[in-house]
Subunit: 165 residues, 2 copies
């Protein structure tokens, strides 16, 4: 099947909220995102990876503009959830490789991660689909990241995209 | 912007590999996925959420058919990575809601999670994009999950899809 990388996107208007050590049982994810949905808070990434433990962290990203409201909503929910707490991180940015057919081309993720590694940029969060590989990195490194990924994929920078450093 | 849910997909040919307590520093993600890419192992989901610690878990999914080879590749890499170990879980299945514009419609994730919660199904891993919300659940519950999500979204089952229980 055809694979192509159509571009690199980035977003600095990102806040990462992590619900810390929440019981890993049915109904928890629903409670969190129902509360956010009722307040019309748009959620971008939802990322949860589970260990073989009774608790897990659940993180999600929203825009920085919504973070104060979202923090209030989730903090009010902490007792009901039985979570340890909530962490809000506004120092992150999201950088993504966008394309198609990337599942069947394992080298695409490796190349994106190489570009970041070679630039000394630490990958904090990863979430993927067949058409998008998204990483959260430190906001201060986003220009360097976009430029490095463009170089790695030999993509021309579009007008208006971050110019090469 | 338009939002729609076009369908529910499921995949039982899923193995979840977790690289446990790997140093959270540049180059780690590249090392893992470069090794898999060189062996032409197709990777579906990559999920990493980070705590404010020196180590993190990094999990990814592949087909069950590739798991033995992938386990060998990653186990050989454990010393170089400095990870604690590797966990391979073949008891999972992936269920996804597929559509468009889901970021700007926070209720979609909440409704999917509600369907699973109401069926008593625990969500083990979550990864999302604007066009897909994917959850890993126990393989034994996948029919129940697909049916519950269909009901929640009032979608007609396509010919060939898992019939209502
Ligand atoms: C942590 C959360 O995802 C939980 N496992 C649930 O099913 O809701
Ligand atoms: C854990 C892994 O993602 C690491 N932070 C890296 O940048 O490669």
């Amino acid at each position: 099947r055809e694979m192509y990388v159509s571009g690199v996107t980035h977003d600095t208007n990102v806040a990462k909220l992590t619900v810390i050590e929440v019981p890993d049982k049915p109904g928890i994810a629903f409670t969190i995102f129902d509360a956010l949905a009722k307040e019309r808070i748009n959620v971008d990434m939802i990322v949860q990876s589970t260990k073989a433990e009774a608790v897990t962290d659940l993180l999600f990203t929203i825009s920085k503009d919504d973070s104060r409201r979202a923090v209030k909503i989730i903090e009010d929910l902490i007792p009901q959830l039985g979570a340890k707490g909530l962490h809000c991180d506004e120092s992150v940015a999201k950088v993504s490789v966008v394309g198609a057919g990337m599942v069947t081309h394992p080298g695409v993720a490796a190349l994106m991660f190489k570009a970041l590694a070679d630039s000394g940029i630490n990958i904090q969060v990863i979430s993927t689909s067949e058409i998008r590989i998204s990483c959260l990195i430190d906001q201060s490194q986003v220009e360097k990241a976009v430029e490095a990924i463009h170089r790695a994929f030999q993509l021309e920078l579009e007008p208006g995209e971050i110019p090469a450093a």
